[in-house]
Every structure is written in structure tokens, then in C-alpha cells.
């Protein structure tokens, strides 16, 4: 079946604008994760969804960042009033069971965000 997909693949925006990043997880996967990879750094955890709820938002760097998930499937990560330090690759992953590290997280191709 299809893997995790993300759109857009690249996004260039101006400082202060809002952006939306989309993730389509593998069909049937209940857990969904967002990570961010800034230049020269490892991936950092942003938020985790179990179904449509987000029990762990601890990684969101500021209140400009929010995410939602609808229908237990598609997720959108929104960044308001983007700043240059938001420039990064945003990765989405899904796994079959919610909250279990025993299940492999499958990653999407990422969205490269550039804030000018």
C-alpha cells in the first residue's frame, strides 16, 4: 500500500505569513507524529496524535505552532506568523498502534519550509 505522504514537498514563504503543512498517514495507522529537522541538527519531536486527539504537544516550540487531525487520518501542522528560525524540514510519521514504540514509525518524505 501507499506510504506516508506529505504536501507540499517544498514551501517558500515570507516572514510573518501563515503556512499549513499536510500529512497523509498510512491507511489504518492510529498514531501520527510530527518531527522537525533544522539544518545540522537531528530530528526533534513536535507533537503526537492518538486518533484525533493530541495527548502530547510538548515539542511544539511556541504557540505559533498548532496541529490537528481529522477523521483519524489526515493531519495539518499550521505555523502562524512564520519566522526565519522556522525554516526546517518537517517530517510526519505514522505507526499502527497508538503510543507503542514497539511499532515502527514510518516516515514521509518531509516538507522543506524556507522562510525568507
Amino acid at each position: 500500500g501507499a506510504g506516508v505522504s506529505q504536501s507540499p514537498s517544498n514551501k517558500v514563504t515570507e516572514k510573518g505569513k501563515d503556512v499549513e503543512l499536510r500529512c497523509d498517514p498510512i491507511s489504518g495507522h492510529t498514531a501520527l507524529y510530527w518531527y522537525r529537522q533544522s539544518l545540522g541538527q537531528g530530528l526533534e519531536f513536535l507533537i503526537y496524535f492518538q486518533g484525533n486527539s493530541a495527548p502530547d504537544k510538548s515539542g511544539l516550540p511556541s504557540d505559533r505552532f498548532s496541529a490537528e487531525r481529522t477523521g483519524g487520518s489526515v493531519s495539518t501542522l499550521t505555523i502562524q506568523r512564520t519566522q526565519q528560525e522556522d525554516s526546517a524540514v518537517y517530517l510526519c510519521a505514522s505507526s499502527s498502534r497508538a503510543g507503542s514504540i514497539k511499532d515502527e514509525q514510518f516516515f514521509g518524505p518531509g516538507t522543506r519550509l524556507t522562510v525568507l
Binding site: 518531527y35 537531528g42 530530528l43 519531536f45 515539542g59 514504540i101 514497539k102 516516515f107 518531509g110
Partner: protein, 113 residues
């Protein structure tokens, strides 16, 4: 929170050479350990993982990793690399029963034919 250190930023080697990538983590409790690989133009994918049991773990494509608890290390090895092993390699850790992966900064491996 855990932190993960990967000692080498960029490794360049010739085909048939042996590869060892270092990974150290800082967490005193029980951990789960992973190596992920990202080939050029492809998604991040799992190479191997360790939860418990035999500390020598074998993964795909001839890779293996050894968990040394006393050294807080989980080094990745391959006895003879191929040009197709050119990729970026990431070590990742979670504490027991946690789902949040903490990643190292990655090591870029370039294999010259």
C-alpha cells in the same frame, strides 16, 4: 530528556571498507535504540532496532549494531560497504515505553566506487 551524540558528521570511504558509526546517548534508565537511514531522495527508514535481549542486533542490508550498556553506546557497523550504502544515518533513542524518538544529528556516509 535523552540526548544522542553521533561522533562523525561525514565519513568518506571506499567500497569494501569497513564502516563503524558511533552513537552515544545520555539516559540512565532502560532505553530502546534505533538506527535509521535516509538514502538520497528517499524517506527515512528503519535500519535496525534494539529493545531487549541479545545486545548484538542485525538489521537489513548487512548492518549490525551493538548495545553496550556500560558505555551508553549503540554503534553501527558493516564489515564491507557498497556504493549503495551512501546515505545519511541517524541514531535514535527512546526511554522505555516512550514513543518520542530523540535523534542524533546524523552522519553522512559517502562510499566511493
Amino acid at each position: 530528556a535523552q540526548s544522542v551524540s553521533q561522533h562523525n558528521h561525514h565519513v568518506i570511504l571506499s567500497e569494501a571498507a569497513s564502516l563503524e558509526l558511533g552513537c552515544n546517548y545520555s539516559y540512565g534508565g532502560t532505553v530502546n535504540l534505533f538506527w535509521y537511514v535516509q538514502y538520497p531522495g528517499q524517506h527515512l527508514q528503519l535500519l535496525l532496532k534494539y529493545f531487549s535481549g541479545d545486545p548484538l542486533v542485525k538489521g537489513i542490508k548487512g548492518f549490525e549494531a551493538e548495545f553496550i550498556k556500560s558505555k551508553f553506546s549503540f554503534n553501527l557497523r558493516k564489515p564491507s560497504v557498497q556504493w549503495s550504502d551512501t546515505a545519511e544515518y541517524f541514531c535514535a533513542v527512546t526511554s522505555f515505553n516512550d514513543y518520542k524518538l530523540s535523534f542524533g544529528a546524523g552522519t553522512t556516509v559517502t562510499v566511493r566506487a
